[in-house]
C-alpha cells in the first residue's frame, strides 16, 4: 500500500505492552488536584471557595470567554485548597501544582469523602431532532475538549464561521503515536458510543459524510468499527506511518484534500475529532455526564503491569503508577513522559495531575534513553525527506542556532507541526523540535510586539 502522505517515519511500535489489556476503571482516590488550565484558551474562572462541599460532576470553574472550557469535580468531597497562580505574584498555597509543561499552574485540591455521590445529571437531549445549538451548548457546558492531545475546546471547533462549507467529519482513530493504545482499546470496547457520538457531532456540524481513519496495525479495531458503523460512517484503514494521525496528514489521507498552508482544517471543508472526544460527547448529550474521566495508557518497559485505565482528571502521577503496580526493581527509570514518546512532555515530579488531554503515561528505562550530545548538522538530508509538512528542517535548524528568526520565518518554520520526525531521523542527535518551538515562540512574540506598535 503506498504511503498516504509525503515524509513520515517508522518508530518502534511498543504497543504490544498494553494493547492486550482491557480498560480498567481506576478506584476512588483520596485526593484529586484539578488544574484550572486544562485546555487551550483562557483558564476557567473559579466559582467555588475553599471549604465548599462539592458533588461529583459539579462545576468547579466556569469557562471565561468563548475559547475556554468549564472544569467539573471528579468526585464528591470538600475543596481543601485553591492555589492561585504565582505568575500574578499572589500568594501561593504550599501544595501548588506543577503542570505537564513544568510550570506552576493554578489548581483546586479536592479531598474525596469516599461516597463518590454524583450530582443529578443534565437532562438527555433527543439529538435526532434537536437543533445544532442545543447540542453545542451541551458540549460547551460539559467542558468537552479535544482528547487527542491538543485539548482545544470542542464547542469552538464545532461552530465554525458560517461561510466555511464543512462537508466531512473525520474521526481520528489512527493513534500513530507508539506505545499508546487508549484509542485502540476504546474502539474495541465502545464502538457503538463512538459512532453515536459521531452522529451527534455530524448533526451539530450539519454534515453527512463521516470517515473514521484507523492505522492497519489495529486490524481488530478496523473490523469492529466497520461492523458497528455499518452505513453510518466509512472506515478507512491506512498503512502504519507516523504521523498519520496529524490533522493535515489525516485529512489528506481520507479526502485527498490539502489544508492550505497557514490555515485551519475548515478551509479544506473538514473537521477532525478524536474517537475519545466522540465518547465524551455521547456521555454528555445522552447521559448528561460532564467530562472528568478519560482513558489513559500506562506503559513502558519499567512498568510492572502496563495497561489502559479510565482515570479521573486530577489523579496525580504517583497514584497513577501505583495503579500499574509501580516499577520493576531492576529497571531504573530514565524518563517519565505524559503523552507518547514522539510528542509527549517529559516530567520530573510525580505530583503532576492527569489532565483532560493526557493520552498516556510512558516510562522509559535508563538504557532506552541517553543524554545525547548534539553534533553540528552534516546536511545529510534525512530530515528533509521525512518532514511530513515538506519543510527544510536542516536549513531552519542552522538559522535558529544563530538566532536569525526572520530567516527561519521565511523558511516556513511557522508551519512546523512539531511531530518530531526530523529529530527522530537526525544522525547528529540535534534537538530540532526544541529549536523550532523556540523559534515559533520568538516569532509569535515578535508578531505580537509588531501588532501592538
Amino acid at each position: 500500500m503506498p504511503k498516504m502522505f509525503p515524509g513520515g517515519v517508522h518508530p518502534k511500535d511498543g504497543k504490544a505492552l498494553s494493547a492486550g489489556s482491557e480498560i480498567k476503571t481506576a478506584p476512588l482516590m483520596d485526593k484529586y488536584i484539578v488544574p484550572l488550565a486544562m485546555h487551550i484558551g483562557a483558564p476557567a474562572k473559579l466559582i467555588v471557595r475553599e471549604g465548599d462541599k462539592v458533588l461529583k460532576g459539579q462545576v468547579l470553574a466556569e469557562a471565561n470567554g468563548f475559547v475556554s472550557a468549564p472544569i467539573h469535580s471528579p468526585t464528591s468531597g470538600t475543596v481543601i485548597s485553591i492555589s492561585k497562580t504565582s505568575t500574578t505574584g499572589e500568594m501561593l498555597s504550599v501544595n501548588n501544582c506543577i503542570g505537564p509543561t513544568g510550570t506552576l499552574i493554578p489548581a483546586i485540591t479536592i479531598e474525596s469523602d469516599g461516597e463518590d455521590k454524583a450530582c443529578e445529571p443534565l437532562p438527555t437531549i433527543d439529538w435526532q431532532n434537536a437543533d445544532a445549538k442545543t447540542i453545542i451548548d451541551r458540549i460547551r457546558e460539559t467542558g468537552i475538549v479535544g482528547m487527542g492531545g491538543a485539548a482545544f475546546p470542542t464547542s469552538v471547533k464545532l461552530s465554525p464561521p458560517p461561510e466555511k462549507n464543512i462537508d466531512t467529519l473525520i474521526l481520528n482513530g489512527a493513534e500513530c503515536e507508539p506505545y499508546l493504545t487508549a484509542d485502540h482499546r476504546l474502539m474495541l470496547e465502545e464502538a457503538e458510543k463512538i459512532v453515536q457520538g459521531a452522529m451527534i457531532t455530524a448533526k451539530a456540524l450539519g454534515v453527512e459524510k463521516i470517515i473514521i481513519g484507523i492505522e492497519n496495525n489495529k486490524p481488530d479495531a478496523v473490523k469492529i468499527m466497520t461492523e458497528v458503523a455499518g452505513d453510518r460512517a466509512v472506515v478507512k484503514s491506512f498503512p502504519v506511518m507516523y504521523p498519520q494521525g496529524a490533522e493535515k496528514q489525516l485529512i489528506y489521507a481520507c479526502t485527498k484534500r490539502r489544508v492550505p498552508k497557514g490555515n485551519l482544517p475548515m478551509e479544506a471543508g473538514c473537521v477532525v475529532q478524536n474517537v475519545g472526544t466522540m465518547v465524551a460527547i455521547y456521555e454528555a448529550v445522552v447521559n448528561g455526564i460532564p467530562l472528568f474521566e478519560r482513558i489513559t495508557t500506562i506503559t513502558g518497559s519499567p512498568v510492572v503491569e502496563p495497561g489502559n485505565w479510565k482515570l479521573r482528571v486530577g489523579t496525580t502521577l504517583d497514584k497513577v503508577l501505583t495503579l500499574a503496580k509501580g516499577v520493576k526493581k531492576d529497571v531504573p527509570v530514565g524518563k517519565i513522559i505524559l503523552g507518547g514518546p514522539m510528542m509527549g512532555m517529559a516530567q520530573y515530579s510525580l505530583t503532576v495531575p492527569i489532565m483532560k488531554n493526557a493520552s498516556g503515561v510512558l516510562l522509559l528505562a535508563q538504557n532506552e534513553v541517553k543524554q545525547y550530545e548534539s553534533l553540528p548538522c552534516i546536511r545529510c538530508g534525512r530530515c528533509v525527506d521525512v518532514c511530513p509538512m515538506g519543510l527544510m528542517p536542516a536549513t531552519m535548524s542552522v538559522q535558529i542556532e544563530k538566532e536569525q528568526f526572520d530567516l527561519a520565518e521565511n523558511t516556513n518554520v511557522m508551519d512546523c507541526i512539531e511531530c518530531g520526525c526530523c529529530s527522530y531521523a537526525c544522525p547528529s542527535r540535534r534537538p530540532l523540535v526544541q529549536l523550532y518551538r523556540h523559534a515559533k515562540s520568538e516569532i509569535n512574540a515578535q508578531r505580537r510586539k509588531n501588532s501592538q506598535k
Binding site: 504565582s86 505574584g89 499572589e90 500568594m91 501561593l92 504550599v94 501548588n96 506543577i98 509543561t101 513544568g102 510550570t103 506552576l104 512532555m345 517529559a346 516530567q347 520530573y348 515530579s349 543524554q371 545525547y372 538566532e403 534537538p431 526544541q434 529549536l435 518551538r437 523556540h438 515562540s441 520568538e442
Partner: protein
C-alpha cells in the same frame, strides 16, 4: 605634438564632457526627488562614523529617524554633548539628561543553592530550556545560567560564573537594555549605576516553598525593611524590593538571614562596628560559655537559661539586649541539636 592635434584633443574632451553633463542634468531634472533639508543638517552634526551604536544602519538612517521624531539624540553613544544639544535645537527636541543605567540580574541562587531537579538534555539556551518542563532548576523563577543574556550583550558585560549564575559587570555595561528582553524569567532590570546594594532575588514564592527551592531566596522576613528604616525597601507580596530612587543603606547586607542582599560587584562593603550594646554586655555566642567540648544538650540548655535569666533580671526593659539573647539562644539550640547526636561528654560546666 603639433598644436593641431592638441587642439582636437582638448576640443574632443570638452565636447564629451559637455554632452554627458547635459544628459545628467536632464536626468536630474526628470527624476529629482526632494529630500528634507534638515536631514542633511542633522547628519553633519552626527559623528558620521556609521558605527550603528544607536541601533540604526548608519548616521544617515539615524538622522532620518531623528527628523522623523520619536528618537532622542542621546541615543548616539559616540556624539559629544554640544553636538547633541545642537541637534535638539535644530529639531526643537528637549534634551533629557538621563543618569547612566546599568543592568542587574536579580538572582543569586546558583546551582549549589538551588540545584537542578533533573538532568536537562537540550539546547543550551535559557529561552529554549524554559520550553522543556519549565527548566529543571529547583526555583521556578531563578536564573538558569545558560547565557541567553550574555550572548545577547553586544559589549560582553555579562559573565556566567562557574556555579552557573549570570553576573553583570557594571563597569563594562552601558545600559543598552538588549539583555532585558532576552531573559525568559524577567530577572534583569536597568538600575542607576550609582546604586551600591541590590536584593538578588525575584521569586514571589511564600517562605516554606521558597526554602525548598533555594537556600538564598528571600523569605520575606522584613529584617531589611526594619534595618533600612526609610521606605527604600518595601515588600511586594513575599519579596523585598528596593526602590532605587532612594539610596538604601549598605547595612541591610548583613541583616539579611539568607544573604540574598549583596553589594554591587566591585563595591567593597566594610560593615561598620555594631552599635554598642546598652548596659547589659551582649552575650557572646554560647561557645564562650566555656562549655566547649561538653556536648550534652541538656547541660547546654540549662547553663544558658541561667545566663538569660540573669541578664533579664539585670535590665528587664532593654528589648534590644533580650532580642540578641534569644537569637543567641536559638543559635545555641541549633548548634546543640547538631552536636547532640554524639555521645555526651561528662557534664562539667564552667560557669564562666
Amino acid at each position: 605634438m603639433n598644436l593641431e592635434t592638441l587642439m582636437t584633443a582638448v576640443l574632443f574632451m570638452a565636447g564629451t564632457g559637455l554632452t554627458l553633463g547635459l544628459i545628467i542634468a536632464l536626468a536630474n531634472k526628470f527624476f529629482a526627488i526632494e529630500e528634507d533639508p534638515r536631514v542633511e543638517q542633522t547628519e553633519d552634526l552626527l559623528p558620521g562614523a556609521n558605527c550603528g551604536g544607536c541601533g540604526y544602519a548608519g548616521c544617515t538612517a539615524f538622522a532620518k529617524a531623528l527628523v522623523a521624531g520619536g528618537v532622542e539624540p542621546s541615543k548616539c553613544p559616540v556624539n559629544s554633548e554640544e553636538a547633541n544639544s545642537a541637534i535638539s535645537q535644530l529639531l526643537g527636541l528637549e534634551l533629557s539628561f538621563s543618569e547612566p543605567h546599568v543592568a542587574i540580574i536579580k538572582c543569586c541562587g546558583d546551582n549549589v543553592e538551588s540545584p537542578e531537579k533533573a538532568l536537562y538534555n537540550g539546547v543550551n539556551d535559557c529561552k529554549s530550556a524554559v520550553l522543556v518542563a519549565g527548566a529543571t532548576k529547583s526555583c521556578q523563577h531563578g536564573c538558569l545560567g545558560l547565557a541567553s543574556c550574555s550572548r545577547a550583550c553586544p559589549f560582553n558585560a555579562i559573565e556566567i560564573n562557574d556555579k552557573g549564575i549570570a553576573i553583570v559587570h557594571p563597569d563594562i555595561c552601558v545600559g543598552c537594555g538588549k539583555c532585558v528582553e532576552t531573559c525568559p524569567r524577567h530577572l534583569i532590570d536597568l538600575v542607576p549605576k550609582s546604586a551600591n546594594v541590590h536584593i538578588l532575588c525575584n521569586s514571589p514564592e511564600k517562605a516554606p516553598l521558597q526554602r525548598k527551592a533555594c537556600t538564598k531566596g528571600c523569605i520575606g522576613c522584613r529584617k531589611c525593611i526594619k534595618e533600612a528604616g526609610d521606605d527604600s525597601v518595601h515588600m511586594q507580596g513575599f519579596l523585598a524590593v528596593l526602590d532605587y530612587t532612594k539610596k538604601a543603606p549598605m547595612s541591610i547586607i548583613d541583616v539579611c538571614p539568607v544573604k540574598c542582599i549583596q553589594p554591587t560587584l566591585g563595591v567593597e562593603y566594610v560593615p561598620e562596628p555594631k552599635k554598642a550594646a546598652p548596659s547589659v554586655k551582649t552575650l557572646p555566642c554560647h561557645t564562650k560559655l566555656g562549655i566547649e567540648g561538653t556536648v550534652d544538650k541538656a547541660v547546654i540548655k540549662k547553663a544558658f537559661a541561667q545566663k538569660v535569666a540573669a541578664a533579664k533580671a539585670e535590665s528587664p526593659d532593654d528589648k534590644e539586649a533580650v532580642a540578641d539573647l534569644t537569637k543567641a539562644f536559638k543559635a545555641a539550640n541549633a548548634l546543640a541539636d547538631k552536636f547532640g547526636a554524639e555521645k555526651p561528654a561528662p557534664a562539667e560546666v564552667t560557669n564562666a
